[in-house]
Point group: C2
Chain length 338, copies 2
Amino acid sequence: MSVTIKDVAKKASVSPSTVSRVLADSDKISEKTKRKVRKVMNELGYHINYNARVLVQKSTKTIGIVMKHSASHSWHNPFFPEVLRGISTYCHQLDYSISLTTGESEESIYNEVVKMVNGKRIDGVIVLYSKKDDKVVPFLIEQQIPFVVIGKPMEHKNEIMYVDNDNVQAGKEATDFLINLGHENISFIGDNPDFQVIQDRVNGYKEALISHSLPCREEDIKYIKDNNDQSVVTELFSKNKIPTALVVSSDIQAVSILKILHEKGYKVPNDISLITFNKTFITDLAMPSLTTVNTQTYQLGYESSRCLIELINDPKMFKRSVIIPTIIESSDSHKKIN
Amino acid sequence: MSVTIKDVAKKASVSPSTVSRVLADSDKISEKTKRKVRKVMNELGYHINYNARVLVQKSTKTIGIVMKHSASHSWHNPFFPEVLRGISTYCHQLDYSISLTTGESEESIYNEVVKMVNGKRIDGVIVLYSKKDDKVVPFLIEQQIPFVVIGKPMEHKNEIMYVDNDNVQAGKEATDFLINLGHENISFIGDNPDFQVIQDRVNGYKEALISHSLPCREEDIKYIKDNNDQSVVTELFSKNKIPTALVVSSDIQAVSILKILHEKGYKVPNDISLITFNKTFITDLAMPSLTTVNTQTYQLGYESSRCLIELINDPKMFKRSVIIPTIIESSDSHKKIN
DNA sequence: CTGTTAGCGCATTCAT
DNA sequence: ATGAATGCGCTAACAG
């Protein structure tokens, strides 16, 4: 079969434990024997068997990533590859592997997470969403396995380490941005309000309106669960007082709204100004290019893996949370009025 | 520490091997003891330690997925989540886990693959691209580890199992589609020609032109490596004979071209017809919606994992390859002329 | 049907 | 600075 430390030991005329120590680069081994052993390793084509190491060290050097279920329409959001890029960059610096959990439904994802954790396949978990009625996070708490949530947890905030933007602030700034351009009739369109991020942005939107003494009406806030659903836009624009600006909770959604507005004969930014969240490749490809709140997705991923690995190495550490700043990036979808 | 089969065995008054057999649901164990043992497992909260099992069975029930390096601009292509969805659906049916390899550069990806394979962390690999001068595939061949490539391999075609569309045929059909609409001056725009998929589609494009006795000129074929680069479009449209139709190698690219055309004052489909490849959420969000060759990405992923797991279970199996059919989906970006 | 024994490949005492 | 012995948690070969 494979070459093991025993084979190396025999050929190098040392004991297996010496070879093991060379692997760990122990300072109790003389440079001379290290060289000798390493030479034999190369000759024999030796490679460590991580599974055996895991069994004795009880650390897998692997983290699990829990995504939304793939039936969710935001599965296609470019957020995902970008956050993954951030996570993997950091993980590979520290020699951690990534195990991906996906599934068609919340239930199947939950089962996979349980299997990962109970089967001891991972040292920790990054949860890529924060959603109400979610069973994964409570399970992770109960199992006392290190984990980090990207997004603000709906519950147990104080026992959970999370990495997030300040989405209330981001929602407020986005709305302020429009208000400062002279807009007074601003609507909000978001996707699934079950996610904390959407609620936060709505709250920021409301704060901005209120702090500028503008009316804040529930009927100006709409949620779209299906991108092909035009009814929301139709509703907003059939009132006698149509909005002059929209805050839209994601760039993909903005593109579909752009299309609906176009079909209805509204011009962006001339008739309607638009500001959106997340900066992805779509932001620039949209016509017109979208003014957006950059949430720095890559950083979100990078920091979350940093936090997680720290937590793995010191499970009793203080559960601090990290807020990644957002940046408004001005482009062509907004306009001053009056 | 954790509950082991020994603990269960002791409490159930059986031997550890009996517990192990219950885990495997061996038919050599009486239903009665199975029930007894399972009851104790529940009471103790026992969960199998996969690492220990891996060590003796030499099967990790994990497959590795090799992506393009994240610096590649196609990293953001929605192809990725979709193919992953297909892969994971099948994998989870058979209880396989997914280990993801990413990296900023080809070199770092290669190193990760080497670590995965040599460290015996995976049973097989799916390579999500096919590129020239790639080191990963030759390494996998040398290591004799089961693997499947999505896309047509550039070399060693006969020793490699791959899942792909017939991209030559797809390129031909796309071009035929435009020719049948009356177009005679058709250009091709593709991204990185280092990938086999682009070359195939170009060849299909050429075949279609030739079979209709239309001129086939190299200067009508352009490659864009940077989406913000307008020069290619400028070149194509500054000739005295501007094209009436374009074959574009991906939907993202089509959207950026749509934007450039719009800025230059060309209307799609009135002035220029467009056909593109891959059907993603972007296809419908584009203005106008894109006529596209659906390459059925989900199926590509699903079949590749099916092939891989078959190969893992029977490494000497015949290395057949699978071709996933493509489907032209007509939308609003094309028009009859004359 | 079930128990006993012997590893899988490595890290880690405890010696020397 | 190095070796010998032991065990991580599980499966499998051999008994019975």
